[in-house]
């Protein structure tokens, strides 16, 4: 009996406690909960008792100390530079950021300012999460074209940095095996590149001739590898109409790419999908991989052991021009924002050169304007990674700016992984083309009606050498 009484009282206490905690939690949530975009809150700044409008902002960098600090200092500067608005930022872990944004959009709960990965922006613009930017005239003049996110002729987002890829190699190694060192004007073509890989692999000095980073599943696959497909003449989606992937993803050029891609793994030239992410991080640096296809962000750690011996080489030209990926994280204004004016003002504030330089120096990415690049540590004239800026200007090929990209990226990633793992090339590409096309059709063409809207990948500026 005593045991029962004790038990009953424990249960009662627990129930009471839980009800109290829920009430506390919810009410504590009340005032400090993220206000709906634009709700006025009373924020007492030191000394001032004015009511400022709060601008809420979401950012994808939770857990990354450096980015967070830079962003916070910019926000501080902005908050102190005027007294109409105050910006508050909420960090999200990058790996689940998109899911959180989509869920919030579904619930009608987006903040004023969000950042969005470049190629995803058209989908968010089409779906109605974003509204076009309203920046002052000329604000975007100096910006690299790939840092300006456009959809249906309007600017929806702008990036404070750009990223570029290149082949990392060592001069001593290439010289040793008599491999010509390519330049921006004269990159390797398919035969030369392939021969170089074979030579390096045959030397026995390395585990693998080239590291493509197959360990980085996710957006790296389309970002890092679709430029190869495009350089062969294929594409994720037919860019002339954006209404189908047939012929682009599974045409003769794509098949040629697919077969070459598969051969890399069959011939053992490249570590495959089972590569450890630790090996991706250290393989080239420790000399186990002869060359590495990676972005500018890996430059610092590659520079350290090799110094002057490090080469940063342009992407090969497989027939349709040398190409690298383009478009990184960009900032936009949400469609439901009640404070579009303030949001736009803040974004424009962030676009100042000094902040571009701060980001670049902090996270090693390419600043979006030439003037900022000239002032940065890594991309100024004579600085070690100046060449990345040139590559970005000359070779960057956007992932297809279409709302279909969301699905297409996942399909592309799977196709390339499957082909690397030995799937039938033509079947895998067919399946990918079908899935992407079906998705476009199911969405009413995503706003495209089938008319020609621009050059295909085989007719664009890079291909025609313009």
């Amino acid at each position: 009996m005593k045991k029962n009484k004790v038990f009953c009282s424990i249960l009662a206490v627990l129930i009471a406690l839980s009800l109290v905690l829920t009430a506390c939690g919810s009410s504590a949530a009340g005032p400090s909960e993220d206000l709906a975009p634009g709700e006025v809150s009373e924020v007492v700044e030191s000394g001032s008792s004015s009511t400022r409008t709060k601008l809420s902002m979401w950012y994808h960098g939770a857990g990354n100390e450096v980015e967070r600090n830079i962003l916070l200092s910019i926000i501080d500067d902005y908050n102190n530079s005027q007294d109409k608005y105050v910006v508050e930022v909420q960090d999200f872990p990058q790996i689940s950021y998109n899911a959180s944004v989509v869920a919030a959009a579904l619930a009608g709960n987006l903040p004023d300012i969000i950042d969005v990965d470049g190629p995803v922006m058209p989908n968010w613009a089409w779906a109605g999460y974003l509204s076009p930017l309203e920046l002052s005239d000329g604000a975007l003049d100096e910006f690299l074209p790939s840092t300006i996110g456009m959809w249906e002729g309007e600017v929806y987002s702008v990036g404070l940095w750009e990223a570029a890829c290149a082949i990392y190699a060592r001069k001593s190694v290439l010289d040793q095996y008599n491999i010509r060192i390519p330049t921006l004007e004269q990159p390797w073509d398919l035969e030369e590149f392939d021969a170089a890989l074979e030579t390096l692999q045959a030397s026995g000095e390395f585990d693998y001739a080239l590291d493509l980073g197959m360990a980085w599943t996710g957006e790296w696959y389309p970002y890092g590898f679709s430029p190869f497909l495009q350089s062969f003449g294929g594409d994720i989606v037919d860019r002339s109409t954006y209404t189908t992937a047939e012929g682009a993803m599974n045409g003769p050029e794509a098949i040629a790419f697919g077969e070459w891609w598969q051969s890399l793994f069959v011939r053992g030239l490249v570590p495959g999908t089972t590569q450890d992410s630790a090996d991706r991080d250290t393989g080239f640096i420790e000399g186990r991989y002869a060359m590495m296809w990676n972005g500018n962000w890996a430059g610092a750690s590659a520079l350290e052991p090799y110094g002057d011996d490090l080469l940063i080489l342009p992407a090969p030209d497989f027939g349709n021009g040398s190409r690298i990926g383009a478009g990184s994280w960009q900032f936009g204004v949400s469609a439901d924002s009640q404070n579009k004016e303030g949001a736009n003002e803040f974004i424009e504030f962030m676009m100042q050169d000094k902040y571009l330089v701060a980001f670049s120096n902090g996270i090693n990415n390419i600043p979006s304007t030439p003037s900022a690049a000239a002032a940065s540590e890594l991309y100024a004239s004579g600085a070690p990674f100046e060449i990345f800026f040139e590559y970005s200007a000359a070779q960057s090929t956007l992932r297809p700016p279409t709302p279909a990209y969301l699905t297409a990226a996942l399909v592309f990633e799977k196709a390339l992984a499957d082909i690397a793992n030995g799937a039938d090339v033509v079947d895998a590409l067919d399946a990918a083309a079908d899935e992407i096309t079906a998705d476009i059709v199911a969405n009413g063409g995503y706003g495209f009606d089938g008319s020609v809207v621009g050059p295909s990948i085989q007719e664009d500026e890079i291909a025609t050498g313009k």
């Binding site: 038990f7 919810s26 909420q90 869920a103 991706r280 991080d281 610092a300």
Partner: protein, 301 residues
């Protein structure tokens, strides 16, 4: 003389074999966790190197608590743990109340619709959460909530969105039904003769002797809530509401924006240990009660 020796040896042999088998199995079950905990004290490169040999389980080399300090610096771990504890505790407690009442009504009372209800509950047992996650999100974003700021629409980004949809649980109800059914009906009979109301019977007759099944339901539900992954990602937006599983993402720095370009495995192990060890300890403390509870809940013949 000879016969008894053989029997004794036989028994010794079988004990030896039994113990041997149990020890090997124990190693298989315990070693991965030992690996996790031991690795959390090792620096990044040593961790990776050791993971290919026996050293993975041995606390050797350059041991320190640096990973833990770094982990706490990278993410507000205490906040996440607090959130998980809060959400788990409240959901489990309210769930015990709600599910046991339903279980009692189904097991020991007579009412129309009881059979259909039981069928529906069994049907919901089949549904994995992932299949209704998005529709649930749609429902939950349209529900009104009365809070400190008046009536607002949408439950996202709160504690209650992590709690209320999970209070009712078909498996718990099922456990309660099984258990209550196996109680002798005479107890209820006697109470009815004494003129007790049904609610009274539930609270003062049945519940007090059902400690074991309550403990079982609490622990199973608690594990489920603590380890939730998909839902919190979808519904928590402010850091202040995030539970431990969402916090894991903080350590997966995708290299495109990571200056060091390295996945901090040491910190990851530290974080995994932080979110796992308390549960293990809790279990060790409560295990006697828990094991007994499942044993007596029993799926009786």
């Amino acid at each position: 003389m000879n016969i008894s020796l053989t029997i004794k040896n036989k028994r010794r042999l079988s004990t030896f074999v039994r113990y041997g088998l149990m020890i090997i199995l124990a190693l298989i079950f315990a070693l991965p966790i030992v690996f996790m905990i031991v690795s959390s004290f090792k620096p990044h490169f040593q961790l990776l190197q050791d993971s290919s040999s026996l050293r993975a389980f041995l606390p050797v080399g350059d041991l320190s608590v640096n990973n833990y300090f770094d982990a706490f610096a990278r993410a507000p771990i205490s906040l996440f743990v607090f959130n998980s504890v809060l959400v788990t505790l409240v959901t489990v407690t309210l769930g015990l109340l709600v599910n046991s009442m339903m279980g009692f009504a189904l097991a020991s009372m007579r009412w129309k619709g009881k059979d259909i209800m039981l069928l529906v509950i069994i049907a919901t047992l089949i549904l994995p959460f992932e299949t209704i996650a998005v529709p649930l999100l749609m429902v939950v974003s349209r529900l009104p909530w009365i809070g400190a700021g008046g009536i607002t629409q949408g439950w996202l980004n709160s504690y209650h969105v992590q709690i209320i949809p999970f209070i009712v649980d078909a498996f718990s109800i099922f456990l309660f039904v099984q258990h209550f059914k196996s109680q002798p009906y005479e107890l209820i009979e006697a109470a009815r003769m004494d003129g007790a109301g049904w609610l009274r019977i539930y609270a003062q007759v049945i519940v007090p002797i059902s400690g074991p099944v309550f403990a079982t339901a609490a622990i199973l539900r608690g594990l489920f809530m603590w380890n939730q992954y998909l839902w919190p990602i979808m519904v928590t937006q402010s850091e202040q509401y995030r539970p431990v599983m969402v916090g894991l993402g903080y350590f997966y720095q995708l290299s495109t924006s990571n200056t060091t370009g390295i996945l901090p495995w040491g910190e990851v192990m530290a974080y995994l240990s932080i979110i796992t060890i308390p549960i293990i300890v809790l279990f060790l403390v409560m295990q006697q009660a828990f094991i007994e509870s499942i044993a007596s809940t029993g799926i009786k013949g």
